[in-house]
Subunit: 479 residues, 2 copies
Amino acid sequence: MANARDAFNQYRQLDGKAKANFLESIAKEIEALGQELIHTAMQETNLPEARLMGERGRTCNQLRQFADLLKEGSWVEARIDTAIPDRAPIPKPDLRKMLVPLGPVVVFGASNFPFAYSTAGGDTASALAAGCPVILKAHPAHPQTSNLVAGAIALAIKSCNLHPHIFQHVHGATFETGKALVQHPETKAVGFTGSFVGGKALYDYAHQRQEPIPVFSEMGSINPVIILPGAAKAKAEQIAEQYAASITLGVGQFCTNPGLMLGVKNSDLNALTASLSERMQKIAPGTMLHTGISKSFYSKRTHALKQQAVKLEAQSATDEPANMGVPTLATVSAKDFEKNPVLLEEVFGPYSLLVQADNIEELKKAVAAIPGQLTCTVIGDESELAQHYDLLQLIMDRAGRVIINGVPTGVEVCPAMHHGGPYPSTTDSRFTSVGTDAIKRFVRPVSFQNFPEELLPNELKNSNPLKIGRLVNGKWEQG
Amino acid sequence: MANARDAFNQYRQLDGKAKANFLESIAKEIEALGQELIHTAMQETNLPEARLMGERGRTCNQLRQFADLLKEGSWVEARIDTAIPDRAPIPKPDLRKMLVPLGPVVVFGASNFPFAYSTAGGDTASALAAGCPVILKAHPAHPQTSNLVAGAIALAIKSCNLHPHIFQHVHGATFETGKALVQHPETKAVGFTGSFVGGKALYDYAHQRQEPIPVFSEMGSINPVIILPGAAKAKAEQIAEQYAASITLGVGQFCTNPGLMLGVKNSDLNALTASLSERMQKIAPGTMLHTGISKSFYSKRTHALKQQAVKLEAQSATDEPANMGVPTLATVSAKDFEKNPVLLEEVFGPYSLLVQADNIEELKKAVAAIPGQLTCTVIGDESELAQHYDLLQLIMDRAGRVIINGVPTGVEVCPAMHHGGPYPSTTDSRFTSVGTDAIKRFVRPVSFQNFPEELLPNELKNSNPLKIGRLVNGKWEQG
């Protein structure tokens, strides 16, 4: 951590173009690892080649998106209010403001995205883009993959002639490693994607420090999907097809996996359930990321299925070998759902629970019992959506992303994406971990009053040498 | 709090123009209270008429600034990424994002700004602007002033025909009142300005909740001022004049009061100290805000002055009656300062401690021992400022606002102002409590995926009925 502080004092002085060059070099070095990286990740994560190729592409794209953001430069929110020395009754001083990096950031690699949310993933890319050195705690499920990516980052540091400790790579499967990193006085922020238990523990450690620090834990979500009666009647087959695919996509190992569905019990919902069941029976189990995840899937699935009035509706007809996640659909009545908080717990894997309400009011009551989520979805025709606007409001209160007539899986990386949500889905609903806005997690504003031109950061100089867009005396000026 | 939730469900649906109208009505109703408000506040706070007239003006200006922000509308950060249905390999959905209000906000009125940071002050104005109902805990030092302002808000609610519980006014001098408000499940954020002990307690309560919530506590600051040797030599008299005034302004009862000065001990600094002492002896004590504050001033001043090697350098020559804050200057060596954390504690009132270092390196070491502050100031000529850029970096790490050759008192309300700072000056260095950016404390982003035009919030509709500036497919479009 002392090394990280030294690195920070150099790295923070780099301008956007120099940091962009570094991020682009990391992307190039990752690509230069070629098939060795893909094969190592395949061995360690059981993920198929095509998925890993796609994820590597996404990871390098993310790095390049942040590089573009840095080159464009206006993300620092530069604001300049020039002095009015002769203002009465008191003169107005020259004030300028911009975002500056917080300091060393500890990032915990996630197991379900071994590239895109691990060693050089979104958290690392956004922290480095902000100007913060990163201490990466490798995920113990893919240590060699993490070593390879860390090696690529080290090469990029060398080729850009930067401080060697801008990025540091730490292994350690115990809880104590993470705790020590989060509680070190030089750590200024934390990024984590994983379980509620893990993310909440880090959050608590951060608040027990003498100087509390922000912790961005993304802790999972059951991503409720509400199926309104009109839609169940009009397009049961289409919904069943979409959702059989969404529930089992990537063996259900996405944070936006639809783990909960809610509908009004009638013959249309029964038909939809039957079709969904039939489709899920036909989907073969897939190997999960690691034995820890598959063990946890089976223990949580078993626990959920033995809850009062929960019925196993369908499971894959294929016999599963060890480590495989079996597609599973269960049902329960809204009344039984509402009184049992166990049914709100995530069963991470290809599992979904369909809650059957007697009527729309009961359905709304069940929705009101659901805590914060990354996403909530409503399936309905336009007239019933408008009619149940209160339901839309209920789910807006509970989610970071609200979807109409779609599936929650598939997280588009674009300016309008928000990947976050009210507690307990994350520890801070105000920030996203996907997309370029993720950089905002690792900065704070500083005002500079009455600075001579030479001592101002380049972003705030009158001459605007970086040619960035700025708010000058209340008016937006293009760079 | 249940009433606040009901009010939220109505208030959140108001557009910017309707909320702006409400804020402007509050300003008008406060002005309509006329001299009764000023006289009540004079009696309760001991502040002079001119100061209170000015502060009332600032309070109404703040409300109108937020109204203007709402009418302009682009603060919601609307982002629209339209669908690409035929994109390969997977279609791109329509995604739109904007900031939405968090829910009911509990605000604790501050005693040192009975208008501008109390009942209808910056926290209330920014929460109401964001679309959050406010539960205002009145400061027990000015209950009648608070009642009058709360009455003005109630009239504005009536004249705008809004839900009566958009603003609720609570009295209660005990800690338990505040704790109950912060821990209520319907409370979604907290604003506080006051002592470290009070602010940290609220912060801890918020983190002990089942659903933790953001707490914005502004907990004071000693606002270090570093006087470099060249400046001490060139303009000792000018610095002494400026600082005698800044230390004693408003009987030292500003959060940006310069409670700590640091310089290199030599004949120039001695001359500056002598001049400052002489001036402070001539300044008469002033009546403090309430007996709690004056008692605390005397006990903290006594405690500070009896620390090892601390010397009372000067105090007002005028005998002070009870409740009056006596202008006080103390000195201590950098060596003694560094080893005694008591000297980092705020003595809220007209008190400053001048730390005398043997040389510039010792001065830098002393600065490195200082925790997070609202402001840090450096007084120096341009060549020595450039020479000691490491010192500027040290203070940037420790402050929300960095000032060169000025005084920290005087908080300009403008886009480039940041009033906040690293812990322990506030609980969240990423947000400001002064200026229109304060609204960002009470909102979070929500993404809307695949919404039909009629169900989108007005801010995100294709037709842009509010005519606000938005980022559409990566390009900024004026409204």
